[in-house]
């Protein structure tokens, strides 16, 4: 479900903080992200990229979560 399209998580630079605004992902994947704490409104920080540039490591709800850029493309965010 897309609430408000905006910038995608995969486009954020290193060190950028942001807030989740919506998703454009199949239900199962969306549910998994939600359950890992990446809910609409959750704040996060882009912490690092893997040596080959992908996946991305973000800090959300006090822990590190890494996801691929292709999946992160379906997560809409606003910069903080």
């Amino acid at each position: 479900m897309t609430t408000e399209a905006g910038e995608s998580l995969n486009n954020l630079p290193l060190g950028q903080k942001g807030r989740v605004t919506g998703f454009s992902l199949p239900p199962e994947q969306r549910q998994r992200l939600l359950e890992m704490g990446l809910t609409v409104g959750a704040q996060f920080e882009v912490v690092r990229f893997a040596p080959m540039g992908d996946p991305i490591d973000i800090k959300v709800r006090g822990y590190h979560l890494s996801l691929r850029k292709s999946d992160a493309a379906g997560v809409f965010v606003t910069r903080l």
Partner: protein
């Protein structure tokens, strides 16, 4: 048998007063608590029908009452995505036939990662089972500047909360007391769902043919399943599924998303708890030691250096340090064999004991040190949190081959043995990725191939430096890995098309390993390995010995080689000779190959049995290597030419020759289709590889 006068103890299962389950997210220290409570009173088995490992242990409550502790697989949610998680859910819902619904759940929570860990607690509370929250690693949380108000937490969650440092044993007594309480209070609080959703949940709950206390939890789980998953549900009637879909439709019309609404509700509830009981200093976004370490260990350059260095160290230890105890085991087996020969008159039984049992089983037990070292390293990599980094670093490369970052661990484990490797694929949620990983894992050179490589290299270049030998060995490992990735890519492209599923990887903070936990795991794996050596391999060794010694030649004057040629094994070797002649093999190698389809490591034993049978007549007791070098064809040319040696090694790199692996693939994929396919494609590849080496080499003028 005990005499009637003795009072025998009642069977242990009757002693159990309470069934306790322990659950929690991965990396929360659940195993440490499980080990601390149960010590060595653990049992590893399987749930019937599925291959999810069932780990149980006995422990004692604060009044000495025996309790059974069930270790549920670590998971982030009760929403099922893997067979492991399905079992956990089924046990908690009382749906797993052989396992009683637990009387109480110990829900382990990582205090330094409270918010996300509480999500599973929120779901557990909806199941209406008494819960104790084991708030583990409070020391780490404190160090990170996190202050947790235990009283407030208890009040907000409504269940006992025990602060713990499991690695130091802190809080264990209190935890025991909490699970020994009688009666156990059921949880009274759980996350408040939106009213419209709650109404649908209750309506659906009434239609479910399950016990009243689990109905709400089950209804909520059903309602939050997406359509495809709902269609896969087998434990409910179609009517229930249709009712669920209709309810979901009504919710969507009312503006409530059944997928996200419950998750949001739970995290809102958690937010309230954290606001009251959880205070972080300024360190929320600050750099911790772990973050600094990651700066190096996942660095663009140093990350690779560290990764390759660690892999190199592991293999160095597996192949060098292990050599010492391996030599001891070999010497022990030889001494035992000599002792038997010295104390028994020559007979079939003596031959069976020395050539069959001792040579066969000894040849397998010799790998125990390597397997122990591998599990030592895997245990440490897992415990410290480095495994997640390895997946993080490798994911890009693995996805290029159509695999998954999480395929890396199974593939790496397969270097020791494909069986734990294939079992480790359970962490891969996507069925297709898991299947591809299972299909290619046995291509990674396992430790059972080492003796084959070793003997063939010794025959190929006798007397060369160990450096050159190591290089040839390494190239065999590389060949296996390259073919594994190529085949994975091919399977993903042709056979198991589909989008690459998502990767969601938690990167836990680095921690010191728990030595006790690592030791326990090594102990457990050694036990499983030895049991296999004592059963499957023992039986095979005896069978092979019999095949090579019977039927006895009618002519008592027959030489030992003639006897071997006339034995069942000799006949089988002759039968497959036309198939293997293009590879340059004679019927004796054929016997070795036949034996190897049961287990590769029997090749060396078979060859030495074969040559020792022959050599006894001229009392030549040189090492197997010299016998193989001296082995001639009927025209006088040597059999083990360089091309045959290399071809044979390539055959062993690629062939599926392990009955235990076939059995495990059958169990893991739940059908004969995949293991049979695997045998076919790997054997085909092996034949082709050996053919190319032998015939291609000859065309190029080698011999």
């Amino acid at each position: 048998m005990s005499s009637p006068a003795t009072i025998s103890a009642p069977p242990p299962s009757r002693d159990v007063t309470r069934h306790v389950a322990i659950a929690g997210n991965p990396n929360c220290g659940k195993s440490t608590i499980f080990n601390a409570l149960t010590g060595l009173r653990q049992k590893v088995g399987n749930y019937p029908g599925v291959t999810v490992e069932k780990k149980t242990g006995r422990f004692f409550g604060s009044h000495g009452e025996a309790m059974e502790l069930l270790d549920l697989p670590g998971s982030y949610s009760l929403q099922v995505r893997s067979p492991d998680e399905a079992v956990a859910r089924d046990v908690l819902l009382g749906r797993q036939s052989d396992t009683p619904r637990p009387d109480i759940i110990i829900c382990v929570v990582d205090a330094s990662n409270l918010e996300r860990n509480l999500y599973l607690v929120a779901q557990m509370l909806e199941l209406n089972i008494p819960i104790v929250v084991a708030l583990n690693m409070v020391d780490v949380a404190e160090k990170n500047g996190i202050v947790i108000d235990i009283m407030a937490l208890r009040e907000k969650i409504g269940v006992p909360v025990i602060p713990m440092v499991a690695t130091k044993g802190t809080g264990l007594i209190e935890l025991r007391q909490a699970v020994s309480r009688s009666p156990l209070p059921s949880p009274a609080i759980c996350a408040q769902m939106p009213i419209v959703l709650e109404r649908e949940v209750m309506t659906l709950a009434k239609q479910l043919p399950v016990a009243q206390e689990v109905a709400r939890g089950e209804a909520l789980l059903l309602l939050t399943l997406h359509e495809a998953a709902l269609d896969d549900v087998t434990h409910h009637d179609r009517a229930i599924i249709e009712a669920t879909k209709a309810a979901q439709q009504r919710l969507v019309t009312a503006g409530i998303d059944p997928i996200s609404a419950p998750v949001d509700a739970r995290y809102d509830w958690i937010g309230g708890i954290c606001a009251a009981a959880h205070h972080t200093g300024d360190s929320h976004f600050a750099t911790s030691i772990s973050d600094k370490l990651d700066g190096w260990l996942t660095h663009r350059v140093w990350g690779w250096v560290a990764f390759l260095g660690m892999m190199a160290l592991m293999f160095f230890c597996i192949f060098t340090i292990a050599q010492v105890p391996m030599d001891w085991i070999k010497a022990g087996a030889d001494a035992l064999s000599k002792w038997v020969e010295g104390h028994m008159a020559e007979s079939d039984l003596r031959g069976l004991l020395t050539d069959g049992v001792i040579a066969g089983v000894g040849g397998v037990v010799v790998f125990l040190p390597q397997i122990l070292i591998l599990y030592f390293f895997l245990g440490i990599l897992e415990d410290t949190g480095y495994m997640a980094r390895a997946a993080f670093i490798m994911d890009r490369l693995m996805t290029k081959a159509g695999l998954h970052g999480k395929s890396f661990i199974p593939m790496l484990s397969s270097f020791a043995c494909a069986i734990p490797g294939i079992m480790a694929t359970r962490t891969i949620e996507s069925r297709k990725d898991r299947l591809v990983t299972i299909l290619v894992a046995p291509l990674m050179s396992c430790s059972a191939r080492i003796p084959v490589y070793t003997i063939m290299i010794a025959v190929l270049i006798p007397g060369h430096s160990s450096m050159q030998k190591a290089l040839i060995m390494l190239s065999m490992y590389i060949l296996g890995a390259v073919v594994a990735f190529a085949m994975a890519w091919l399977f993903k492209k042709r056979l198991l098309k589909g989008e690459t599923p998502m990767l969601l990887l938690e990167m836990p903070p680095y921690r010191l390993p728990s030595w006790k936990g690592v030791a326990l795991r090594m102990w457990e794996r050694a036990g499983l390995f030895l049991r296999r050596a004592g059963t499957v391999i023992l039986a095979l060794s005896i069978l092979l010995w019999a095949l090579m010694n019977y039927p006895k030649p009618a002519n008592t004057e027959a030489t030992k080689s003639e006897a071997l040629a006339q034995s069942l094994a000799g006949k089988m070797g002759h039968t497959i000779q036309p198939l293997i002649a293009p590879l340059g093999y004679d019927w004796k190698i054929g016997i070795g190959l036949i034996g190897s389809f049961a287990a590769r490591e029997t090749f060396v034993g078979t060859m030495s049995q074969m040559y020792s049978i022959e050599s006894k007549e001229d009392e030549d007791i040189g090492p197997l290597r010299d016998k193989m070098i001296a082995e001639k064809r009927s025209d006088g040319s040597p059999i083990f030419t360089p091309l045959v040696c290399i071809g044979l090694m390539v055959f062993y790199v690629l062939a599926m020759q392990c009955i235990s692996t076939v059995a495990i693939v059958r169990r893991e994929t739940n059908s004969w289709r995949w293991p049979l396919f695997q045998i076919a494609y790997m054997t085909g590849l092996a034949w082709l590889g050996a053919f190319i080496v032998y015939q291609g080499g000859r065309l190029l003028g080698f011999h």
